[in-house]
Symmetry: C3
Subunit: 255 residues, 3 copies
């Protein structure tokens, strides 16, 4: 087990390695969240790309270090792009993150997401409604741990308290601010940050924790100067951009 | 007739009810305006969704409380999405707002918009160029009132002064700031706010006035601290987020 | 040859003419950059439009004063839109700017961009990676000048130092701030500003320099108050909105 202060240091290490290695993260994501996701990745030091065109997506994923598959704005072209992108990710052994946005609102989307779990996402990042729709009957109590174990993945379940589990270990992250829920694309951007973290931290459980802690602490720092969602959306980018080890140590609440 | 101060109170009531009921607004809108529209809705307390995929849009509209149909970025997929969404809205008796963006620039778009008027939008929100293209020969003087009466809808015509009419009643709203015209998606976001207001106020004429007054007053508040369009775009979100009854009473200019 | 102070004045003139003439710029651009590009154009005084629907794009380009063709998010619909838009631009003799985003990441995209160079862009705006992919074997030293001469276009090569050449004249622009590279869509927005400048300045070499100097100086002004990328993204819009002749004269670094 890692002590909380150790996890804060790991988060600081992960951020530092993202800044120095500038991992390329290819994002298949909804058009609502694209710009915000790109700006969060750039602030962290990663390089985003976003095309979904069938002629070129395999080339982009082959040239990237990690992949984000977000199901928001789910259309035929995106489904086909996802299939091509996963093929390239599998061939290049690149980690990918599944973000099954709003699957509780559409059976077609939920079914598609369940199929994607079988293709081996390194991490599944989602909220409680989405987890309930993905996990079906088994969504209470230790369900994230059971889901992670069964599907050999990491569950990163975000909410007032985030829960991360790899099927053996589990951690709770109590960072963040309610304003994060009032900025469209924040969850999607968090998933993209998890993808960047996977490139520089081989223990994907620690990578997921690091990304969630970093974004949550950035949210707390931002909320102190920007107490409403418009400015907060920019301030959290700046807080992430300038996030240092001392702030992570002082503010991380991991148990 | 409602006295101006009464209308300011109605606007405050509508905002309070949006905050407490958190209506779901499904938005078919152009990719330029999606993120800004979502953030305005979130700041007001509503829950946006934005998919246009044929496999799922009916499910999203069925689970929503109101629908926005914005014609910006008008392509084959969006036209088909609009048809499916209107079918679901009609079946569920959900109010919908038509925003015929830029129809003065394209005969194909104008013709499509005219067809949509026949499907019974609760409110048509548009600017003067768009109204002229939609109303054809009859766009001067009391044309908004005549258009509303003829098509059994509410016309919400925005500009330096907004005009709202249901075919019997008419109101002028003199709130807002010129910077609102320099933020892309502001009109589209206003239409989405009208859709949210329709969920909590059955008199759709009052709902439209309430949404326009709220956004206009938020714009005035924002312009005081943010006198240029970049920051203004965030500040108006924050002003809407924090808009209270006293500010609405003090600033509403409705006649 | 123009003296640097003369070029600063030309940039100020170009900005003033954009403000007074409000040119319409139709942008075929990636969904990541659409909103930011639109907001930069609006801040400068231009009128953006963004549709790519085949039914209407020719009408939009026919009603516009200039066209931007950006290859980010490159899909079948966009390729067909580009072809229709270029047809309308050629027919109306309207200037257009090519922005071959990320062509170094995809052979299909690079090949398509090379074909577009043959259709006569007024200006090609791109970074060093993209220029290397576009120019093939000849990308070192005076390659921008040779490329411009060979293809009868203007090369506007942006980076720490921007290089602009028309095949005879060459200028270096040393304005800008590193934060510009951390805001998604900044390069795309710069290309759109070049398109707006082409409408009001017939010497396309001067138009390209004016747009790059204006955006670079705005970036420097913004970085003084907003030293991190989230706020910087809004502040540079505001700096461009308020950019005056004195600031351009004091800060332009053109050689």
């Amino acid at each position: 087990m890692h002590a909380p202060v150790e996890l804060a240091d790991i988060a600081a290490d992960v951020l530092a390695r993202i800044k120095s290695r500038a991992p390329r993260v290819h994002c298949i994501t909804n058009s609502v969240a694209q710009a915000y996701t790109a700006n969060i990745l750039l602030a962290a030091g990663a390089i985003p790309s976003m095309t979904i065109a069938p002629e070129e997506i395999a080339a982009f994923v082959a040239g990237a270090d990690a992949l984000l598959v977000n199901l928001g704005t789910f259309d035929a072209e995106r489904k086909s792009a996802i299939d091509l992108a996963l093929g390239a990710a599998e061939q290049g052994d690149k980690p990918w993150v599944l973000d099954p946005v709003f699957i509780e609102r559409s059976p077609a989307r939920a079914q598609f997401a369940q199929g994607l779990v079988g293709r081996g996402p390194a991490v599944v990042r989602l909220n409680h409604h989405e987890f309930a729709a993905l996990a079906g009957g088994d969504a209470a109590g230790d369900a994230p741990l059971r889901f992670a174990k069964k599907h050999n993945t990491i569950v990163a379940l975000t909410g007032a308290t985030d829960v991360v589990s790899d099927g053996e270990r589990s951690a709770k992250v109590d960072n963040g601010d309610a304003l994060m829920g009032l900025v469209t694309g924040m969850g999607c951007a968090g998933s993209a940050l998890v993808a960047a973290a996977l490139v520089v931290e081989r223990d994907r459980y620690l990578a997921a924790i690091a990304a969630l802690v970093a974004l949550g602490v950035a949210g707390e720092v931002a909320a102190e100067s920007a107490p409403a969602p418009g400015r907060f959306a920019s301030w959290i980018i700046d807080a992430l951009f300038g996030l240092d080890r001392a702030t992570l140590r002082a503010r991380s609440r991991i148990s």
